[in-house]
Symmetry: C2
Subunit: 195 residues, 2 copies
Amino acid sequence: MARKTGSHSDITGPRVQQAALRLFARHGYAAVSMRQIAAEVGVQAGALYNYTPDKQSLLFDLMRGHMEDLMAERAARGGQGGPLARLEEFTRFHIAFHLERPDAVFVSYMELRNLEPKNFAVIEGLRRGYENELQGILEDGVAEGVFAVADPKVATLAVIAMLTGVTTWYRREGRLSPAEVGTLYWDMVRKAVAA
Amino acid sequence: MARKTGSHSDITGPRVQQAALRLFARHGYAAVSMRQIAAEVGVQAGALYNYTPDKQSLLFDLMRGHMEDLMAERAARGGQGGPLARLEEFTRFHIAFHLERPDAVFVSYMELRNLEPKNFAVIEGLRRGYENELQGILEDGVAEGVFAVADPKVATLAVIAMLTGVTTWYRREGRLSPAEVGTLYWDMVRKAVAA
DNA sequence: AGAGTATCTGAACGCGTGTTCAGTTCAATC
DNA sequence: GATTGAACTGAACACGCGTTCAGATACTCT
């Protein structure tokens, strides 16, 4: 019988995750202490252990959650249309998705080396799946003659690096909207792989 | 009167830097202790302080050295020829330079947030200078009508992100030589900004 | 041989770490 | 109104941190 009112766990739990994400993104996993996270939430350090078995799980759960969101949203949009249309959709989606969650993106790309090997393998597997979708689009395009890329694997990694790089400079208060950024990048991606 | 033989400082000093670079690249600045660095060199932790005033300076000196190397090598190769030739030279140089120093690159891009504000400003200034060279090439190309980029600033950051991303997947033992990688990327860069 | 000094050791300093846990608080239930 | 149990505190644990420094070591120079 879970209590409905007066129970804080369904409030504190997410707040722990939020605080951890924020702090990990700003200072890095290794540089953030459990006491800092607790202070941000407004509890003592010991209370965090009602919501995570340990610090490593806090990091892993954040990264797995981010990657699963990514894959789920990707699966929701079907790969419809020809390679060019699919590539445009992928490009704009990637930009929009990443600009919406700068902290999660930052943590997921920077803290891979702080994952225990087993956890690392899980995240790496999810990422590989995401990359494979782009690679499939490029390969289809090459087969149909609409794309010309000498090495689809390298092109995949190059395009993803370029797109993800947007998170390092984009600022909400800046002169460009996410959609405008998407258009700028789509223009470059399209030309880069064009036949 | 510096002693020539028997003096270890000119051996230990560089070894400290090497060890710090290796460990920072693999585990991150915050996760590496002075005792770990000392163990890698084969001395006690206290001995490190003959070669650096503190841990922060160790990081800063590594990053500054890397950026200064980058700028020096860039200055050595003049910006000769038209925008297309200069862009090709820049692209191939960037790939080759970065593939030669994976550890320094990794540290310089990942540990910016662990720099004290003053040190951060120095490194950021150097990087800005490097980016400006690429931006200048793109702007010249646009002026001459050989490039078509809607936003030179964004294009600069996009190209650099794409090129630097090569360090995340390239392995010396892999199927591609640095020169081959350079050619693959140049093909994509050239098309991405072409008029 | 003796003096001088660059180099390093080993112990210590105060402090922060992740984690555990007995005990307190307090709203929901009976 | 008594009981229950989830949520949390506050103190403690063993340990590692960056840094300092008096003293040992090992070498060069006179």
